[in-house]
Subunit: 355 residues, 2 copies
């Protein structure tokens, strides 16, 4: 830290991304990436666009915004495209929270919400999940704060029906409710249709998971026109050319290949159910995830031991040290082969630890 850093940032603890180690033949199940390559149409489009890099991208992202709007069934002025969904989440904290207007989110959820709040000197409350790691929506009703709910939640993968979230939106008419649907494409249902009914709902999604584009950085938000105008004001006040040409083109490519996306999501769901079932048979508690990851703990072997045992076998999953979840590991759902290798490793670890 330099002696010049603003006082308000001196205690800021940045987000820690999942590790990206350079281990040969590693099975990487730690950052919820897709196990499938990007759509060929995405690759072809990006390749073509790379030849025009001397020109600025379209700051309005017009075509891509229109295509996303069509995909999710809203108007183009109800969509804002961003550099990953982290960017639109940050914009939402900037737009709808300040030192007077705080934020509320679960104590166990996407770790970035807390960082965004701290960055903006925004007071926030973390509402504890229930003992079964579920979001207790009752506690959010009439709370009078900007609400951030990941649905499915991370790292639990637990999904809440939009009809239940609607009750929270309805019960907070003077606060914005942000529903972060990064993982909604793996068996969940989106809250997007509700934006027609509520002016206080912002839904965010990403191309990183279901569309195999984590490396391209593409996310978006959907809300009523006025919310999107607010967020556009922030975009044009931070980084108007936030989406580069290649990513924009790749996004259009994958949207033209929706069957590929759907087929991949279906496979991930099948592999998830297969793996969750096998883990249960091995004695694990699993949360019943509807995301592209599994959250699981064993009653007799610690989360740390399992994490380390897997790592020793060149399988990387994500382990969190927070007290309430330190017995769990979060395992990204990969291909069937990767899941079998993972389960073999788990069996070997249990055999060793329980002998």
């Amino acid at each position: 830290m330099s002696r010049f850093l603003s006082d308000r940032l001196k205690a800021l603890e940045p987000y820690t991304p999942g590790e990206q180690p350079q281990i040969l033949n590693l099975i990487k199940l730690n950052t919820n990436e897709s196990p499938f390559p990007p759509s060929e149409k995405a690759v072809a489009n990006a390749t073509c666009e790379a030849e025009k890099l001397q020109l600025y991208p379209d700051p309005e992202c017009k075509k891509l915004t229109e295509e996303i709007a069509e995909l999710v069934g809203v108007a183009a002025d109800e969509v804002l495209v961003t550099n990953g969904s982290d960017e639109i989440l940050n914009f939402a904290f900037m737009a709808y929270c300040d030192t007077e207007n705080g934020a509320a989110f679960p104590d166990i959820t996407y770790g970035f919400y807390k960082v965004f709040a701290q960055l903006g000197s925004i007071p926030y409350i973390e509402i504890p999940l229930t003992d079964s790691l579920e979001i207790n929506l009752e506690e959010y009703k009439g709370i009078g704060k900007t609400i951030f709910i990941a649905n499915p939640n991370a790292p639990t993968g637990i999904f809440i029906e939009p009809e239940e979230i609607e009750e929270v939106i309805k019960a907070n008419p003077d606060s914005v409710v942000v529903v972060d649907e990064a993982y909604v494409d793996f068996g969940g249902r989106s809250c997007i249709p509700l934006i027609k009914k509520y002016d206080n709902l912002l839904v965010t999604q990403t191309f990183s998971k279901s569309r195999s584009m984590a490396g391209a950085r593409l996310g978006f938000g959907v809300g009523c026109k006025a919310l999107i105008q607010d967020l556009n004001t922030i975009k044009y006040s931070t980084n108007p050319y936030n989406i580069n040409r290649m990513t924009m083109a790749a996004g259009l490519g994958v949207l033209a290949d929706e069957e590929y996306t759907q087929a991949n999501c279906k496979t991930v769901c099948e592999n998830r159910e297969y793996t969750q079932k096998a883990l249960k048979e091995l004695g694990f508690d699993v949360t019943g995830s509807k995301a592209n990851f599994i959250f699981a703990k064993h009653p007799s072997v610690s989360g740390e031991k399992i994490y380390q045992g897997l790592r020793d076998r060149k399988i990387l999953v994500r382990h969190f040290s927070a007290e309430r979840i330190c017995e769990y590991n979060r395992i990204t759902v990969g291909t069937k082969n990767q899941m079998d290798a993972f389960l073999d490793a788990i069996r070997a670890i249990l055999k060793e630890e329980l002998k």
Copy 2:
């Protein structure tokens, strides 16, 4: 604007990017893009990387950071790579300014500084350029504010020698001085060597202009290790994966093709001198730019008329409405053919207006 937008942002006036009209056969000299395609190595690298989009990019940008550090002659921990140089300028405003610690910059300069300040509710002063549109460095000495100087300045193109800027850095030991060198590669000299001597200097540059990569979004900052740590804290608190895989790869490609960059810069400088000379012969006042653009006004024909006359002839330049510079136009330096077409159009306009 929604009824939810934070009070502190209600008066915010976002930055207006140069227009990107879809006019057939337009000669586009309005956003200071390179007239040359990206390096073939950049294109090849990006193309190759597009096939791995399912994986997150390296949040540390390790390899690219190292290569940039080598290019500019500093250590890797003295460099931060960002999503265009707008991102690092925004980070600098966030890190080194707050409601207590204001900013200072010229009244006529890159229009985004004012927007960043307003976004952060940062008090700022705009120090008038001299009558000859030069930055009067004396006024910045001992000012006790975070200083932003574009060098060469925009839209004047006027360059200040690093030795003169050093006096400002030296005279403000307790404030950060940010030197924005977006246009330094066209005949200027960088302040980067001074970071070894001063812990309060941050220099920013971009791949958008001299490296033909405006469409890829790549910029960087150079400063002492502690400053880079500060800015990294902000990066990891806003968007850790700020550089996508394709842009990172393209950046490595163009750095491996430095001769191409140097040759393009040389051509731009030659075309600039050629065009500035021709404009002077036609009676224009030119500021003597060292950037990839020319700033010129005619004593008898208004800036607005010239802008419109060029536009009618399918040549787009940038015109600003601010009082002190509304008689000028900013003309991006293109290829020799583009400059000849521009000069022909100017001759036709003068003939028409002065008959």
